[in-house]
């Protein structure tokens, strides 16, 4: 009962982006002997999910999202070391290697997606913007993440998402990874066309898709339905994404220079 109220306060501290209060709630939960994992899952993560949904509806905006992420970080900074000490280390949802593709220097949208994935328990390596195709493929081979995530904000750079996938096929490593894409000019249709496994319309959808794809990977059903091997080995129909009416920019954030 008292715990429920505490968890609610934790969620609220993330929603209102109050890092100070998030940190003190985290400390208080440790003092009262609540297992850190419970505080994370029942408190703070619930908050960040609300933030994701509200951001998707335009109700919350970038600056608030950044503050919420800061609050989340402040809480985790206190809880995670305790987790490591105890038995209940927080199980990673998966490892994500992210970048904005070659020729594209948009940063904000990709950072939001990384922030939301990280808040939801994914471990993120963000290689930044304008990451050359060759380098990205090398990094994939070296780091061996679960998910490869690529952002492209320009019609003219989205083809580089396809280039990465083609290179992965050439190197025979395509099926070792989950490939996710996002960004204003991309769509579910574009993802299917270039043989990506998933597409996030906005940051919270990206999280849902990532969790779902990881679950299917663990269950061994990833390659059964949807974007199977067959479609990937076919030559994709076109070279750039076709605009569709639902190509919003929520996941992408603003166009930066």
């Amino acid at each position: 009962m008292a715990h429920d109220e505490l968890f609610q306060n934790m969620a609220d501290s993330v929603i209102s982006g109050d890092a100070g209060s998030a940190a003190s709630l985290a400390r208080r939960s440790l003092d009262s002997g609540i297992p850190p994992l419970q505080s994370i899952d029942n408190g703070f993560v619930r908050g960040i999910r609300v933030v994701g949904d509200r951001f998707g509806a335009g109700e919350m905006f970038l600056p608030e999202l950044v503050m919420s992420a800061e609050a989340m970080k402040a809480a985790l900074a206190i809880l995670e070391p305790e987790l490591a000490k105890g038995t209940g280390a927080r199980e990673s949802q998966g490892e994500v290697l992210a970048c904005t593709v070659q020729g594209d220097i948009h940063d904000i949208g990709k950072r939001i997606v990384c922030t939301m994935l990280s808040a939801n328990g994914f471990r993120i390596v963000d290689l930044g913007v304008n990451v050359k195709v060759d380098r990205f493929v090398e990094e994939i081979k070296q780091r061996r993440p679960d998910i490869v995530a690529m952002s492209a904000l320009l019609t003219t750079t989205a083809p580089n998402q396809k280039k990465v996938i083609s290179r992965m096929i050439e190197e025979g490593i395509r099926d070792d990874y989950i490939v996710m894409i996002g960004g204003a000019p991309t769509s579910r249709a574009w993802a299917a066309q270039i043989g990506a496994d998933g597409h996030g319309e906005n940051a919270s959808e990206a999280v849902r898709v990532a969790i779902d794809l990881m679950a299917r990977k663990r269950a061994g059903t990833l390659r059964d339905a949807g974007h199977g091997k067959k479609s990937r080995n076919d030559t994709p129909a076109g070279d750039t994404p076709t605009p569709s009416p639902d190509d919003g920019v929520a996941a992408a954030g603003p166009r930066q220079p």
């Binding site: 905006f61 603003p254 930066q256």
Partner: protein
């Protein structure tokens, strides 16, 4: 070093030299090595010249009063030693190396000037010249070649001349058929035709604003600078996307895409030339030159140059230099040997259209500190004065053009362009006074500004919930706050009978915040760079079609422009078109345009570490003014 009148302004660039023209006592600063003639052209001062600064007419003399101007071979050719000793120099070869004061003789003839749309008179000094030649017919004792005969005559009139193969081929017959009584048509120094008899009265050019969406052309009489008609047409390329990136992506994935888009641009311009020529009763072969102002992508496509590198980091244009070539090379149908001049660009995203804007507003050539903003998918911004000027491009996205807005549309019939929200009601004005069908950019800004004022949206951009609205708003407004598919919205027009409702959603407000935030960030970066604040701005100029329709008060209320008093915000109209006209009417102004890349610094936003922080801060709306 700081001037007493503006102690807070940055110091002039170390490489700049001051030059003062008497008797007007106007001063400017130019890079060392600039000729006196160019310096005068830069600030729009008239120095007599018929050869266009080619050191052949000898008319552009000025007298050195202070400082030093080295004597050049051209001085010896056109001036005697007494004149040189007295300080006379040809201004077109005299280079400013130190602070200099010169005296400019009064013009012997009153120069013709033309008014342009920006209200700036331009000294008429077209690049096209027609010279009526009554040549001596060849005799056994005068066996000069036809070309030499023409050249000798033209040189006496102060003109140099080159002739291409095409005109050489028609020259002998043209001279002999008309008993050596012809009119030479010079485009710059290119001889492009020999017309029978005296046709000097008919001399025309076309100035083109080659926009991504709309192309505007003006037919000008180059003898007196008067306009003989203006018309506009949709750029035929729009079928391949509304913004420059989709055009570029079309060239990337279709092998014929580039030539297709080149042909479309040419066809659109040819259509405009046709309309103008027919409307004015002017034959197309009396149109000898055209000037084009366009963004870098449009110019690349018109020239048939691969634009792909423009669209991908690090965004390199193939050329930013001005282009002067036969119009027929691009399938443009003016005089068959007429020429096209395209204004230079400052960078991949600050193109010839903005150089034209800087020409039309004279922003980098006047002492006032001014901010110029051309609001569009790419917001181009320039800030400065004749002491220093900087520019940048802020990618605002298409929100201002109605894209990615739930009920957004272009500024066409039925678009809401004005919104007033009172305690009781919402008053809308639409284009063409028709029932509202959507929101164009100015309507969007107006709507958000009014909702901010009524407290329906707070400074962070958040819209009231339905419950909050019921508690705090008068009922007539509260009932307009609704939720559509989980997203809050404000109903602007309920949509009676067949009409569909026009709403402004929470997401639309966010899109507007992104767009205006990008432009406001660009402005802030430039103001930081120049170390000035909003209070220092003498004027804020809003360019482009959008700048004309936007309400200055609304633009300021949402933070699109800095907080300056409204009497300092001015719409300057289609400055790209005006700049193209000015470049067509005056070679001196053309030279000034070619100086812009050297005089206006391009600041790349994406290279800046402070961009993200400034952008985050610029997303919010400014606090309401009392």
């Amino acid at each position: 070093m700081s001037r007493p009148d503006r102690p807070d302004r940055p110091h002039p660039e170390p490489g700049l030299r001051s030059i003062t023209f008497r008797p007007d006592e106007c001063t400017t600063r130019v890079p060392a090595g600039t000729t006196v003639y160019e310096a005068a052209a830069w600030i729009g001062r008239a120095i007599d010249s018929t050869c266009g600064a080619r050191a052949t007419c000898g008319k552009c003399r000025v007298r050195l009063r202070e400082g030093e101007l080295l004597v050049t071979p051209a001085d010896h050719e056109h001036l005697n030693s007494d004149e040189i000793a007295a300080g006379w120099r040809l201004s077109c070869t005299a280079e400013v190396q130190h602070g200099t004061i010169v005296e400019v003789p009064r013009l012997m003839t009153a120069p013709k000037t033309a008014m342009t749309g920006t209200g700036r008179p331009v000294l008429l000094d077209a690049n096209v010249h027609k010279v009526h030649l009554r040549l001596d017919q060849p005799e056994l004792d005068d066996q000069r070649s036809d070309l030499q005969r023409i050249r000798d005559h033209l040189r006496a009139a102060g003109f140099a001349c080159n002739a291409g193969l095409d005109v050489l081929r028609l020259m002998p017959a043209a001279l002999r058929r008309h008993q050596f009584d012809v009119t030479a048509v010079l485009c710059g120094e290119w001889l492009i035709d020999l017309e029978p008899g005296d046709t000097t009265g008919e001399c025309f050019g076309v100035a083109v604003d080659l926009g991504t969406t709309t192309i505007v052309g003006t037919l000008l009489d180059l003898n007196d600078g008067s306009s003989r008609g203006a018309t506009s047409a949709l750029n035929a390329q729009v079928v391949h996307g509304s913004d420059v990136l989709s055009r570029i992506s079309h060239t990337m994935c279709h092998p014929e895409g580039l030539s297709e888009l080149q042909a479309m641009a040419a066809a659109s311009i040819n259509g405009i030339i046709d309309t103008l020529a027919q409307g004015a009763g002017v034959p197309r072969d009396r149109i000898y030159e055209m000037t084009v102002a366009g963004n870098a992508t449009m110019i690349h496509l018109l020239l048939g140059i691969d634009p792909e590198p423009l669209s991908i980091a690090p965004f390199t244009p193939a050329i930013t230099e001005p282009v002067f070539l036969p119009a027929a090379d691009l399938s443009l149908t003016i005089h068959p040997r007429g020429r096209l001049y395209a204004l230079p660009a400052l960078g991949a995203y600050v193109g010839g259209d903005i150089v034209a804007g800087l020409l039309a507003t004279s922003l980098p050539r006047e002492p006032r500190l001014r901010l110029f903003v051309d609001v569009g998918t790419n917001g181009e911004i320039a800030l400065g004065s004749d002491r220093r000027a900087v520019c940048t491009a802020a990618p605002a996205g298409p929100a201002f053009e109605g894209a990615e807005i739930a009920c957004g549309m272009r500024a066409v019939t039925g678009a809401i362009e004005e919104v007033r929200i009172t305690e009781e009601s919402v008053v809308l004005r639409t284009i063409g006074e028709r029932p509202p069908v959507g929101l164009c950019g100015s309507g969007l800004i107006d709507a958000v500004c009014q909702l901010l004022r009524r407290g329906v949206i707070d400074a962070s951009g958040r819209m009231l919930t339905i419950e909050q609205a019921r508690r705090t708003l008068p009922p007539s407004l509260a009932e307009r706050v609704v939720e559509v598919d989980g997203v809050r919205a404000f109903v602007l027009a309920a949509g009676e009978r067949d009409a569909k409702a026009v709403i402004l959603t929470q997401k639309d407000v966010r899109q507007l915040q992104f767009a205006k935030g990008a432009i406001a960030t660009g402005i802030q970066v430039l103001m930081k760079e120049m170390k000035v604040s909003a209070d220092d701005l003498d004027e804020v100029l809003l360019g482009g079609a959008f700048g004309t329709y936007i309400h200055p008060a609304a633009a300021r209320a949402i933070g699109l422009v800095p907080a300056v008093s409204l009497d300092r915000v001015r719409a300057v109209g289609n400055t790209a078109g005006e700049g193209a006209k000015i470049a067509l009417l005056s070679t001196r102004e053309r030279k000034a345009a070619e100086e812009m890349p050297r005089r206006v610094e391009y600041i790349e936003l994406s290279g800046r570490t402070d961009f993200n922080d400034l952008f985050m801060a610029a997303l919010a709306f400014p606090p309401p003014r009392c």
